[in-house]
């Protein structure tokens, strides 16, 4: 983490720091991993923090919650460059990058309302990532081609 961001956001004792979120996406990140603040834990959100790597970035710090891989997998599409830092007793105990999986299972619904995966049938939506560079997805069922904008809006 850069010095600037340390100044802006207080250190946390236990929890998860999601760093290097594309500027402007922090609030979507909160929504995707369902961080509402209702549990009473401190959540710090920093927007447009100057960064070395990218011009600006967002940072989210969630205290007393250790995000698991399946949760951060959900961020692959909206914050593919984010890093996940797990902090215990002020120490960084785990750092992971988000990697695009081959398919995304059960997280996003297919936006095609006429897709069988949106029917009353017992189906988990599966979106296959067919182009990891441009991030193009395809619904396993209706084969509709999708971009991130189709999923997060």
């Amino acid at each position: 983490m850069s010095d600037a961001s340390q100044l802006l956001v207080r250190r946390i004792k236990d929890g998860t720091v999601i760093d290097h979120i594309e500027a402007g996406k922090a609030l979507v990140v909160l929504r995707i991993i369902d961080i509402t603040g209702k549990d009473g834990n401190v959540i710090t959100v920093a927007l447009n923090v100057p960064s070395n790597k990218h011009v600006k970035k967002d940072i989210v710090k969630v205290e007393n919650r250790f995000l698991l891989k399946y949760e951060t997998d959900k961020l692959a599409l909206i914050a593919p460059r984010a890093t996940i830092n797990i902090i215990r007793d002020y120490k960084l105990v785990e750092k992971r990058k988000i990697q695009l999986p081959d398919s995304i299972i059960g997280i996003f619904r297919c936006p095609n309302l006429k897709c069988i995966s949106n029917s009353e049938e017992d189906i988990r939506p599966i979106l296959d990532i067919v182009d990891k560079q441009r991030i193009i997805l395809e619904c396993r069922y209706c084969a509709r081609t999708l971009t991130i904008n189709d999923l997060v809006s």
Partner: protein, 311 residues
């Protein structure tokens, strides 16, 4: 003998079928057409086709059942959703599982996109998509291509017009994917509100040369084939608008006079008034032949799926 690539295979989307596959089905269809009835019945004797139709489509269902009968097999199915368990709330999943137990191949017609892909996950036996959602009807596309080859002796180099409701006509999308393997010029003719959804042609847009038109007149003299689809009144919120456009997309004798003398008129059927009956007796009308080729092609496809060692 090498195992044929269709043996035990699901037919879900025309996108899964490459040009080699297409040619394999076409050449086997040619072969089958020359078989004696007894030779044909060797290919499906004792086998059962299970049809599950969530939409009424007498045409497609009869074609498959006639095809199965020609191979010496039999068919059973659910075709009237209103009187069957489908209406009583049984899931598609259960219906497919049960039909799978009673049959060797399942044909599914369903209004939702992706239903056939889902059915494949549940069925041990092969599933054929008999039309699903708004864009997939793979066997129709195959029989359309076969009809063009038989009637025109080629596909490459043709000017193919598709007219009518291109937005909701599932046969159009599947056929365009099939045509992307060939060097053709496509002319899409429809009212603005029923234009094709280009985003649905994502994978083939660059392979097809497509021109869009709102009237038939200018492009008519160039066309070798006119593929006609029905414009349904339900698609128009405004009845007046429907009345205004429908006449412009009807094929009749007057239209034929301005077209190439050997233009071929195709239609996935059932036809309503978008092709005038006066066209039926001309050599240009090939829509009934299309239905006959369709039965033969489906028989060939069923035979290839059921029999490992034929080609």
């Amino acid at each position: 003998m090498q195992r044929n690539s269709f043996y035990n295979r699901d037919i879900v989307s025309i996108k899964d079928i490459d040009k080699q596959d297409l040619e394999r089905v076409f050449s086997y269809t040619d072969k089958l057409r020359n078989f004696t009835p007894n030779e044909k019945t060797e290919l499906g004797r004792g086998r059962v086709l299970g049809s599950v139709f969530y939409e009424p489509s007498t045409r497609t269902r009869m074609s498959f059942e006639a095809a199965m009968a020609s191979l010496g097999g039999s068919s059973l199915g659910i075709s009237d959703p209103k009187s069957s368990s489908i209406e009583k709330g049984e899931s598609l999943a259960d219906t497919i599982r049960i039909m799978d137990l009673y049959s060797d191949i399942v044909v599914l017609r369903h209004p939702l996109d992706g239903s056939s892909r889902f059915a494949c996950e549940l069925s041990r036996n092969p599933v054929i998509n008999g039309g699903s959602g708004s864009e997939e009807h793979p066997t129709q596309a195959m029989l359309d291509l076969y009809t063009i080859i038989k009637e025109k002796r080629r596909i490459d180099g043709l000017n193919i017009g598709m007219i009518g409701d291109l937005k909701y006509g599932r046969t159009v999308y599947s056929l365009l994917y099939g045509l992307s393997y060939y060097d053709v010029k496509i002319h899409l003719i429809s009212p603005v509100s029923l234009k094709i959804r280009m985003e649905s042609l994502y994978e083939v847009k660059n392979k097809l040369r497509i021109q869009e038109h709102t009237t038939l007149e200018d492009i008519l003299p160039k066309l070798d084939i006119i593929y006609v689809t029905r414009i349904q009144r339900e698609r128009f919120p405004d009845l007046q608008e429907y009345e205004n456009v429908k006449g412009s997309y009807v094929i009749d004798i007057e239209v034929l006079k301005k077209a190439k003398s050997d233009v071929s008129i195709m239609h996935p059927m059932p036809r309503m008034d978008e092709i005038s009956q006066s066209v039926d007796n001309t050599t240009n009308a090939i829509y009934f032949k299309q239905a006959a080729y369709g039965k033969d092609l489906r028989a060939a496809l069923l035979a290839l799926i059921l029999n490992e060692n034929i080609s």
